[in-house]
Amino acid sequence: MKRHSVLRVVAKLFLPYILLFALYVQFHGDFGPGGGFQAGVIFAAAFILYALIFGLRTAHKVASADLLRILMAAGLLLYASVGIVTMLKGGAYLDYNFLRHDPVHGQHLGILLVELGVGVTVAAVMVTIFFGFADRKNR
Amino acid sequence: MTSEFALIAAPIIPLAAALLVSLSGKIPNLRDSFSVLAGIILFGTVVSIVPDIMAGGRPAFTVVEVMPGLALGFLVEPLGMLFALVASGLWIVTTIYAIGYMRGHEESNQTRFFASFAVAIFASIGVAFASNLLTLFMFYELLTLSTYPLVTHQRTDEAMRAGRVYLGILFTTSICFLLFAVIWTWVITGTTDFTPGGILAGKAEGATVGVLLALFAFGTGKAALMPFHRWLPAAMVAPTPVSALLHAVAVVKAGVFTIMKIVVYIFGISFLASTGSNQWLIWVASATIVLASLVALTKDNLKARLAYSTVSQLSYIVLGAALANQAGVVGGSMHIAMHAFGKITLFFCAGAIYVAHHKTKVSEMNGIGRQMPITLFAFLIGSLSVIGLPPFGGSWSKWFITMGAYEAEQMIPFAILMVSSLLNVAYLLPIVFRGFFLAPKETSDDGHVGHVSDHDGPSPGIWKIGALREAPLFCVLPICMTAFGCLVLFFYASEMHKMLLPLGAP
């Protein structure tokens, strides 16, 4: 029997747009109901779809466990460090106004970075959890 | 040595002894010398405080204030002085006796035994010198805990069961009633300090006083007031030195001491008498005196008989306190010392008989006086003192208590005191009579009757000179000392009375 062409083709078709959608949600967090978390979930969903259809081994080649672990931690650290930087600059924790000379820019940048941190972490965590499930029988 | 210094040193000495004893467990002679030495030093230290007290001094020392009005502290007053003297003095003899007994009996775990022993004395000293209810309660509980390993020393199922009864009753009563009463008192008065004249006067009235007194009296399970007396006979499974410690030195005396102290320094005798709340306690004590004596009559096991005797005698002291007048309080307090010497003598004798002959039952003791004349003679002296006949110490204390009952116009208790002495005669003197005048029974000769024993031959250190078969020297010596003490106390009673008189001050 031949391979599952329908799923594969549809997945290939969808993947780029799902990923883009994730990034779109990520970078429009401060305009509407978007933000790091949804972005992370969507990004991870795309990746999980990829892994489901093209196999775990292939997926692992794209994103190794170590890469995920590092991303996970890096995202959280990014989040927290923004806060630390605002404190270093004399503001309260996560007081973005202190991030730049111009408070408006400061807020932009602050929210952006924080959301990015959240997004990266969420995506990495979700994928890791998926791998954790899917992989178990193989161990 | 100032009294304050002595006061600080007094609890530390037995504590240090406990430590040294545990560390020197590998060298029994060293270990036992530590015990004896600590006993002597402690007694000296305690005695050194006496002149100050006689002169009206009240050395005090506060360790730490836990909460406002709630401190951990010591203060010496006449009653505590007396108790400390009794406890520390008898510790020496009991230790000597225990060394003889334990070695003669080849008991195991002697190190733990002597260490616990020292901790128990530490707790007793703490009880004696406690300056407030909290401190007293704390050392009271410590005393329970430290004597548990002694009670269960044999580790048999029976011993463990007895231990549970022991802990169960003492903890239940102290936690449920005594602690409750302590906290209640604190809530009412804002203090727990023992104060001459009491602290409750004017702050509590009516039923509250009665309920508080009940909580204190029954909360002090160590006083073995019926119906919370069961632990005392149960604890008889312990080795005899322990029984001596329990009955004469530390535990039960700490109980009645506590009641006495609370009556005098928390309620204040005039306040208590004025409320009339003491009436019921007089009756309970009287009832305990009679009932316990009757039970004692029925017991064939010597230690059980002595145990019920103790239950009865303790209630003399409680009665003295409950009478809430000078004669009663002073007499009751004196009885702490008098009974201690008398009863310890009796227990020592019971132990000596057991060590030398493995006999535990009264019915087996026919003719034993011929083999152990010294022991049985001491037993006679102890009995007479407990009964309250001159020229032994017990006669004074009983006299004062009876006077107290008379002054309080409590004629029925007065009569009970009289009758009770007859009962004492009835359960104690037949033993002496059997020992000296009845011929020994054939079957009980070779010493297999004792239920704990697994010895075939005589234990080491037993004297055997002709027909004589006495316990080891370490046993006999203390017996003589305490029996002699019963006699001495008769003549020193006036000093004691003088010291205790402030208790009765209104």
Partner: protein
Amino acid sequence: MKYLIGLGVTLMAVWLLWSGHYSPLIISFGVASCALVLAITHRMNVVDNEAVPVEITGRLLIYLPWLAWQVILSNLAVARIILSPSLPIAPRLIRTPAGQKGEVGRVIFANSITLTPGTVSLIVNDNEILVHALTQEAEDDLQSGKMNEQVIRVEGNA
């Protein structure tokens, strides 16, 4: 490369449509995002003619209205069946020839079959598709081969 560029252009267009914010910052985010997506999909090895059917897009747009009409018709048919008390169905398994040369074409055909209620594609083989049909009419419609031809036309000569 052709596919990468095609995908990149499409992605950027989609971003602009979605975004609605045309500040330089956001647009630069858009560019960065598209680049990132390209990089990832490239790494995933999914950028090919199947993912980016640049060749057939035009013809696909012509096919869709026809398909939509078919969908409506079949919907009505099945809805009628569902609503009629006797539930007049005659389910069957049938094999229908699939003349498409490429995977994409066959997938479009299979999905079109599924999209029209009354027929569901079960197994897609190289030259035929196993279909579950709900009624005789649905089977007849499919076996007439119209849809097959339409999709072949979409596929073109590529």
